[in-house]
Symmetry: C2
Subunit: 225 residues, 2 copies
Amino acid sequence: MSPPVLDRETAMTIQSSREFAALARTAKVGNDGHRVGPSPVNAVIHYDIGALIFSQGDRAGNIFTVTSGAVRLSHLLADGRRQVLAFCMPGEVFGFAQDGIYSFFAEAIEDCSVVAHSPQEVRAADNLNAALSSLFSAQSHMLVLGRQCAAERLASFLLDMAKRQRGRRCVELSMSRADIADYLGLTVETVSRGLGKLQKDGVILLHSARCIEIREPQVLRDMVE
Amino acid sequence: MSPPVLDRETAMTIQSSREFAALARTAKVGNDGHRVGPSPVNAVIHYDIGALIFSQGDRAGNIFTVTSGAVRLSHLLADGRRQVLAFCMPGEVFGFAQDGIYSFFAEAIEDCSVVAHSPQEVRAADNLNAALSSLFSAQSHMLVLGRQCAAERLASFLLDMAKRQRGRRCVELSMSRADIADYLGLTVETVSRGLGKLQKDGVILLHSARCIEIREPQVLRDMVE
DNA sequence: CGGACAATTGATTATGCTCAATACTGGTGG
DNA sequence: CCACCAGTATTGAGCATAATCAATTGTCCG
């Protein structure tokens, strides 16, 4: 990829959402909002699909655990190029900040619930485990971004999504093609073509754009080795 | 990049270095090898250039802090493609493992000294800080691998190296072109051509292959935004 | 000095991007 | 209920970037 002459879509303005996030943090404290012994602040917050949880550049506050739905973590360059760092599913933790500033956006890509923790109130061991999970997934994604071709990236992605939805017949994607592309370091066109090819080869079946049946998981596994 | 028909060089055999690492761990315990209060085991270990510290697939033991020299962390695919995850310089910590198994190789790319810590003996807060540093650098590298073109990747790399050697006139590279290529998700040829172009444009000056003077840091900064 | 490895340079190719047009989908209002 | 619209996805054609293949030069050690 070369630096684009024109912005993707009309590149989102990087704006602080400090007020927004502060509002959200106090809003809709759930059933478990009362404090329980030495546990973290179980402030359950609900975000509608598309809602911004925090912005790149915001002063960091809480860390969050997803309890339902899905969250997209993405970093935006000045010219509009975007890298999706991770999709966070239930059980996953996000919001670790560098020097007190969030270095990426966190947005709800489905209606979702998260639990906000004050980092100080979480046991250090829990924080460490969460940070290590993020680290390992970042490291394996570096492999995908650095050394796999488009077809292999899609195979990795589909297997990863399938693993997180074990039990379902079909993989339900909560993200758009643009999100997938920005996660895999590709363009929407390449993602679309790649999925089309996998379907033509009988490896997957697209019930709809967001619902994919994996018919030959072993073929995907062979692609990523 | 597409899956290579032939291995890079003659792809390194993935072999367990359990015996080797065990040996190394007990060898050459340095001056600070005695235990000091509640501190970690300050077992200082020296590795010669090229030495293997641990292998991908090894049962995990200690975590390590680099005190001198440089360490390359790399992940190898079955067909020989390699992704360098990080170059660890003095002060940096490596060796966090997933499910008790190291998921990458750690090798000395210069003569170097590391301090081996038993993870249990390190304060959780220190582990967390080390893990978060690795996470943040992995995240920013995902941006490089996913969304920057070859010239931008080189600019990012040179600026990063320069930052770690603040004070020097020239950036001294401890790694080969192949290492740089595998770190940046490029080929050696592209790295070489890219550096050549930067030199032709007067942005850098190659005193030797491993010694680069940055004449126009601002140009590099503008490239990465 | 010679040999092995590392780095550079050149020519060609292919993968994935860009630009462009078309099809599909879900939600809204007549 | 259906037409419409906007956003999303797919498909097509041509091109550019970086990979591949190949040859040469440079450098470090013994």
